[in-house]
């Protein structure tokens, strides 16, 4: 059975044809999800469980002078109270963070539960387990904490100043693992990437545009809040059920934080109500485990929205400067950029990725990019959909637009002329393999949207903008285990949390390889004991990397079936071939189903398996077009029309690709126009609710039109590129360029809220009179 839900179209740059890939079967988890039968973390209820609640810092920056838990412990129904002293003293070691940023274990641990200081408003200080959530909530209020409130610093450039309050008193700035600061600093790390001769490049430029940009903190806004249930058994085994983008990552973090043998930690991933990078790390899991050990019972914890916004891992605010030099003919000669990102209360922002993305869409012979990872009194930032790229490319793509205006160049032609292509240099990465930026720009140019002039209405300020985006995507490690059942069906175990329909997109690659119907593949997202190592669902990697694992597992199974048949038929394996799901030899032909019946009847049960760490990931490019209308009296920006063109390599399940594109664009529009953490002068977060943290609603965005470009990734057997992240990258730049087209204003601070647009319009009018 198939569903037809395509809204966009595909521009193919290959001649491959497939039986399963590119079709639209009903997703395997669809019925459970739409009937409400699918189990999420908060559906876990264990016999005798207690409920945990967290006490959080009411201050942005404070020293903890004392914690008295006696009144909380005395409350009827309370069974455990923990503070930072209950977590093992962390060893001085590096553990791996979600999407690749290394972190010191001690910082990770202190972020889970404060020890000597609180680093941000909402930082956990203590936790309680009680017989009900209400009693736990009451008990939290009975914990007496004495704080010495310290001056808070929230903005990166202020935090970088020599006289700034120091948040981590022994933190020294490092560059390439060498300490470069003589005294403690909020700058945890400086990074410099350089190629060619940037001074020479600017010398050769006819026009240099040098601009500064700023960003507020933006949250992923997943609807399901964080939750975890943990049961620390008497024999030291710990079972955890949680909402996470990676059960294996949670297991590894727990082993490190709790200093506990990894084999005794068992993590079951539940269905997930959104993550976008924010659920690639642990918050509640270690607390629930410690409360379970102390109380002797399973402990269940759920965050509310206020806690999620205050104290999980939003994407950084920060500062970006971009300087670009071009010739009068529009040839890019040199680029210089500085990026300073909020790490939040502890080191480890995504600034490095931002640095490497800032000029990525262009072939740039001379470039230098300097990045700073800066500790501020805000929550520890974390990955959010193409982390770092949106900030960086907002800056570079609006500077490109400004250059095109200044030189009278067509922004499409400029991008085609300067586009990065196969073999071109990448900053601090191997040269590009086959990539599809040019093909995206061409498809955008040829689209109905670009070819249809924007209708101008008297009295309305309307404009159109275009911007491109790049994101690396990642590979990491994935596993798959496939069991051939006696009826010819396959049970496919994988470790990748299914966020975007990957059970189906992975099963389709398995079905394509073995030559069976995808309806005969039953994918299961397994726990950490039941499948091989699998890293987080992040970096747009699951359909790519877990897809390769499924492909390899199918080939493994195919070979085992051939071996089994060769054994039964007493012939050489070489005499049996496989084509389109049929095993052939002289005079004999068996489908997979027939082979399964035959083999299992003889007690032969093939199990295909693979664990892969693919390297040739295949970067993703995209080009977006936005039409806006600006209310000249109020500053409000409406998106009139939006088209996103994206290279998906090969789209396994095209409507899911379109869904990812549309979701990313909507999040990017929210980031562009309204989403922002609002802090008061004491560093307290004022808008920790979805009423005042303004994500777009269905009435705030038009239908997002999509065009899938297929330039196959040579690093994947079917040409897949990750698709989930890059669509968030261009929207702020495309919208800003459209606002400029409508009003003549260049907005360089996100969000471009009505108040900011109005203020800019007012000063523009003032300049004219």
């Amino acid at each position: 059975m198939a569903v037809e839900t395509r809204t966009g179209r595909t521009v193919k740059h290959h001649d491959n044809t497939y039986n399963v890939i590119g079709t639209t079967p009903i997703r395997h988890d669809g019925v459970e999800k739409v009937t409400g039968e699918a189990l999420y973390g908060s559906d876990i209820n264990l016999p005798g469980q207690f409920h945990g609640k967290v006490l959080r810092s009411p201050h942005a920056h404070a020293r903890i002078l004392s914690i008295d838990t006696s009144r909380a412990e005395a409350l009827d129904g309370v069974h455990a109270v923990i503070t930072g002293q209950d977590i093992p003293e962390p060893a001085d070691k590096i553990i791996s963070g979600g999407e690749g940023d290394g972190n010191l274990l001690k910082y990770k641990t202190e972020n889970i539960l404060a020890r000597a200081k609180t680093h941000y408003h909402g930082h956990p200080v203590a936790a309680v387990a009680a017989i009900s959530p209400h009693i736990a909530g009451q008990a939290v209020k009975l914990i007496d904490v004495t704080y010495e409130v310290l001056p808070a610093v929230l903005e990166v450039r202020e935090a970088m100043a020599p006289d700034a309050p120091i948040i981590i008193e022994d933190l020294l700035t490092e560059l390439d693992d060498q300490v470069i600061s003589e005294t403690p600093s909020n700058i945890a790390e400086k990074m410099v990437y350089e190629t060619g001769d940037v001074d020479q490049g600017f010398e050769e430029s006819d026009l240099i545009v040098d601009r500064e940009f700023s960003f507020g903190v933006v949250h992923q806004g997943y609807i399901e809040t964080h939750n975890a249930t943990a049961h620390w058994l008497k024999d030291g085994n710990i079972h955890v059920w949680c909402s996470s983008q990676g059960a294996f990552s949670i297991r590894s973090e727990l082993a490190n934080i709790l200093d506990h043998p990894i084999t005794k930690i068992h993590v079951t991933p539940m269905e997930i109500g959104g993550g976008f990078g924010g659920k690639t790390t642990s918050y509640l899991e270690p607390l629930a485990a410690l409360l379970s050990r102390k109380s002797g019972r399973p402990v269940k914890m759920n965050m509310d929205r206020d806690e999620v916004l205050k104290a999980t891992g939003p994407t950084p605010g920060g500062y970006v400067r971009v300087k670009l030099g071009v010739t009068n003919a529009g040839i890019v000669k040199a680029g210089y950029a500085e990026l300073a990102f909020d790490a939040g209360g502890f080191p480890g922002s995504v600034v490095g990725a931002g640095c490497k993305c800032v000029f990525a869409p262009y072939n740039m012979p001379n470039a230098k990019v300097v990045g700073y990872d800066v500790v501020v009194n805000k929550p520890k930032t974390h990955a959010y959909r193409a982390p770092g790229a949106t900030h960086a490319e907002f800056a570079s793509e609006t500077v490109v637009d400004e250059i095109c205006r200044e030189l009278g160049l067509d922004p499409v032609e400029f991008r085609l002329q300067n586009s990065a292509k196969e073999g071109d240099w990448q900053l601090d990465e191997p040269p590009y393999a086959r990539i599809g930026h040019i093909e995206c720009v061409e498809a955008a140019r040829d689209s109905d949207h670009w070819q249809t002039p924007l209708e101008q209405v008297p009295g309305k300020l309307r404009g159109r903008g275009i911007a491109s985006g790049f994101w690396f995507n990642v590979g990491l490690t994935s596993s798959a285990i496939a069991r051939l059942n006696s009826d010819g069906s396959v049970t496919l175990l994988e470790g990748s949390t299914d966020i975007g329909g990957t059970r189906t997109s992975v099963a389709m690659q398995f079905a394509e390889t073995l030559g069976i119907s995808v309806d005969d593949v039953f994918p299961i997202v397994a726990d950490t004991d039941s499948v091989g190592q699998t890293d987080v669902t992040g970096g747009s990697r699951v359909t790519f990397a877990t897809g390769i694992a499924a492909h390899d597992a199918a080939n493994d199974m195919k070979q085992q079936i051939i071996a089994g048949l060769a054994d039964l038929w007493e012939m050489s394996e070489d005499a049996i071939t496989h084509r389109d799901g049929t095993f052939l030899t002289d005079g004999k032909s068996l489908t997979v189903r027939e082979a399964a019946l035959l083999l299992t009847d003889e007690e032969i049960f093939p199990v295909g398996r693979a664990t892969v760490t693919p390297e040739r990931v295949g970067g993703a490019f995209t080009t977006h077009i936005a039409d806006v209308e600006v209310d000249g009296e109020t500053g409000k920006v409406e998106i009139l029309r939006y088209t996103a063109v994206q290279d998906a390599g090969v789209a396994i399940y095209p409507p899911y690709v379109e869904g990812q594109i549309q979701g990313g664009v909507v999040q990017g529009i929210g980031w562009a126009l309204n989403e922002d953490y609002v802090y008061d002068d004491k560093g307290l977060l004022r808008n920790s609710s979805l009423l005042d943290y303004r994500m777009p609603t269905a009435l705030d965005v038009p239908n997002i039109e999509t065009i899938i470009v297929e330039v196959p990734n040579p690093g994947h057997p079917y040409g897949v590129r990750g698709v989930g992240e890059v669509p968030i990258v261009p929207p702020p730049a495309a919208v800003a360029n459209a606002i400029h087209d409508a009003t003549g204003l260049r907005l360089r601070d996100l969000p471009m809220s009505p108040a900011r647009v109005q203020a800019a319009l007012t000063s523009q009018n003032g300049d004219q009179t």
Binding site: N674, R694, T697, L699, P754, A755, T762
Partner: protein
């Protein structure tokens, strides 16, 4: 665990008796769309919900012989915009009722509750002010009336005394050749709180304005009746010049704050813009047209 009691009296007297008995820990429950959220967030030490929806006087919507309308305090918003006569007579209140929360919220939420919650940004309050609504209050000492513009005293505070409850709102019959309009500015297009709201009432004699009232939301600790702006319009020819002058008064009267929902400068500008848009809408209605319900 904290247990909360629930009572469903059927007369105003019984409700007042319950309020007297339980003091300020008893709370009148109408639609509950604000109250339940506040209690869940632990903002109030509530012991007793007194459900007002079982009291006929609080859910009535009646028009008397002289054209005066009595609107029960717990009447949900959807009943207002579902009533053609009410829509024709009180368009600004209907404008507000249509944008409070969402369609689902409007099935429960009441204009009376919106007023008692006394939020500076409460959408219905400027609309009630321009319609010259009177609050009918019952308490241990009997009944009294309060002009709606005097009802709110501070953010979240109103002029109800201990043991008092809002029973209904009296809405005068709309004068001939008059019209009203309410609109707000929000950064999104739904599910948001007014950065600024503006309501306007105009009565005409030909092209000349004979009466006018203007009220603003979210620019002061309480919804603001901008009496001077209305008075400045009297005797003027209805049109852009007069509206701009009134809007300047509204802008200058507004005393907003910077907060997570808006800035002082933006709210001042919005007071100016929205006052003009509200007046244009009121004029269109007075002239028999339908104002565009822009944001």
């Amino acid at each position: 665990m904290r247990a909360i009691q629930y009572a469903a009296p059927t007369t105003v007297d019984d409700a007042v008796a319950l309020l007297a008995e339980h003091g300020e820990n008893a709370r009148i429950l109408a639609g509950g769309t604000d109250l339940i959220v506040q209690v869940r967030e632990d903002g109030r030490d509530t012991e007793l919900f007194v459900d007002a929806k079982g009291i006929p006087e609080l859910t009535d919507l009646t028009v008397s012989a002289d054209g005066t309308t009595t609107l029960g305090a717990a009447t949900p918003c959807y009943e207002l915009y579902g009533n053609d006569n009410f829509c024709a007579a009180y368009p600004a209140i209907v404008d507000a009722a249509r944008i409070i929360g969402s369609t689902g919220i409007q099935g429960r939420a009441s204009v009376g509750g919106n007023l008692c919650n006394a939020g500076p940004a409460g959408d219905s309050i400027p609309a009630l002010i321009v319609h010259s609504a009177i609050c009918n209050v019952a308490g241990p000492n009997g009944r009294r009336e309060i002009a709606v513009e005097d009802f709110c005293t501070a953010p979240g505070r109103n002029s109800l005394e201990a043991g008092e409850m809002l029973v209904s709102l009296t809405l005068p019959s709309p004068p001939p050749n008059s019209g009203t309009h309410y609109l707000r500015f929000i950064p999104r297009n739904e599910m948001d709180i007014a950065v600024v709201g503006a309501g306007a009432f105009l009565q005409l004699d030909g092209d000349s304005i004979t009466a006018a009232r203007i009220a603003l939301g979210a620019v002061a600790p309480t919804p603001l009746f901008v009496q001077a702006a209305g008075e400045a319009l009297i005797g003027q020819t209805a049109g852009e010049a007069a509206f701009a002058a009134a809007a300047e008064i509204a802008r200058d009267t507004a005393s907003p704050i910077d907060d997570m929902r808006g800035t002082v400068a933006h709210r001042k500008q919005l007071s100016y813009v929205l006052t003009q848009r509200a007046l244009r809408g009121a004029l269109a209605h007075a002239q028999g047209g339908t104002p565009s319900n822009g944001h």
